[in-house]
Symmetry: C2
Subunit: 251 residues, 2 copies
Amino acid sequence: MATTNQNGGNRRPRGGRIRAGSSRRAQSEQTELHLLRTATWLFSERGFHGTGIRDIADAAGVAVSAMYYYASSKDELLEAVMRRTLDVLVSSGEETLRDVADPAERLAAVIASHVAFHARNPRAAKVADHEFHALTGQVRQDILQQRDAYETVWSSILSAGVHDGTFKDRGTVARLALLQMTTGVAHWYRPHGELKIPQLCERFAEMGLALMGASREGRALEACDVNLPDTQLLLRRAELTIEPREKPTGL
Amino acid sequence: MATTNQNGGNRRPRGGRIRAGSSRRAQSEQTELHLLRTATWLFSERGFHGTGIRDIADAAGVAVSAMYYYASSKDELLEAVMRRTLDVLVSSGEETLRDVADPAERLAAVIASHVAFHARNPRAAKVADHEFHALTGQVRQDILQQRDAYETVWSSILSAGVHDGTFKDRGTVARLALLQMTTGVAHWYRPHGELKIPQLCERFAEMGLALMGASREGRALEACDVNLPDTQLLLRRAELTIEPREKPTGL
DNA sequence: CTTAGTCTATCGATCGTTTGGACAAATAAC
DNA sequence: GTTATTTGTCCAAACGATCGATAGACTAAG
């Protein structure tokens, strides 16, 4: 229960490397990523306020002050996690929607993109979803604006579909319901569960279309009636460097 | 920025009352409720770990140690909030389902009950939804079990409907999607928004039935095709004494 | 030799919790 | 009906532990 450091002989020697890197600069980048991944893991598990900087440093196998070389405060650590996460979420969505015109296909596409991202990066997504309340000041405004912009994409897809008769008009709550149920994937998805990511995306696209009462020429639209984006492509776009793929070694 | 107490002259005199009560015992109950409501408000706003006991005491207008007269620890405060919340959520659901047999009507009923509860008690519901990770030990097990039992009710409704052909088979994920989208109501619902609670319940029942592809004799089921529980009844059952109906005065 | 990167050690502030009464309402004694 | 005693409720002050953050020494790569 040492307060200062509890992995005494286990720490790598001074200036030691996490992975053999060529230059010092490459090594520095590795360390920063390692710290962000560890922070993401802990934030997702215990929440931002429930995680101490010593928890992060210990789990990452570095000294507390080494963290402050990369981030000038704990809040900045959270900011980095949220910014990187939202950036990839938004850009992967935009790219996937780029050349899709039909409202039903657009809805299926944005659902699939969103679900793929949240299933592939559950911890980072959880942090972005849960820890918004821990942000303050300008950062909070920025992140909020980015999230609003993303939700506006969903809104316009829905209203376009309502306007041309593809969807039933279910009001503003439809967007909120769709976002909640797809974002929720991050909270329960397990890689070795019932469904793999491609099937999961298709299933959610199906449920989303059904929820909106999607139809063409009087016939209800199923997921198999619309072109779904290629899942491999979705997963490549959703790749997030700070998502921790395994439990921190020092935990 | 006094550390000990920041509402100096504003506090009521020693032994003063929040509301005029008859007996001392009645007064004590009022104070306990007042503390739980204040805690619920702050937990929902800043999270459990983001809320200090001094924050709660100050917002409630009592001394820190007065809190320890009612709860022997901060964790016990959270426990009380979550237990009371889940108890009402579960029992109101059970009561509403008591004499409903048809799967489609049961789904609509449980959705309406869930949505009504989350719209009426958003802060307590948010705490129960978000702060589970802050629980430890036996309490965590208990709450988890209660939540699992509640979700099992949903599962059996869905599988009954799938079995008799009312619903399409959308696997386990359907339950998770439905629960996420309905629980999410607590995060965005505002009393003066687009919809009042009765309309909100109906809308969600509609979306839920659509999501499950509910149909009878080949015809798709709408919300108007099934009997929805009386919303006034739902709201009475969902009444939660610890839900803070207004911002704490000392905030 | 310079400096990027990491260390140990420590800071003041705040954390959850405890102590030892103060005081009023309820009860008992007269 | 007044006074004394007990009980229930709450407070101010302080405790040790832990919090986020910093200072300054040291190492090794460039």
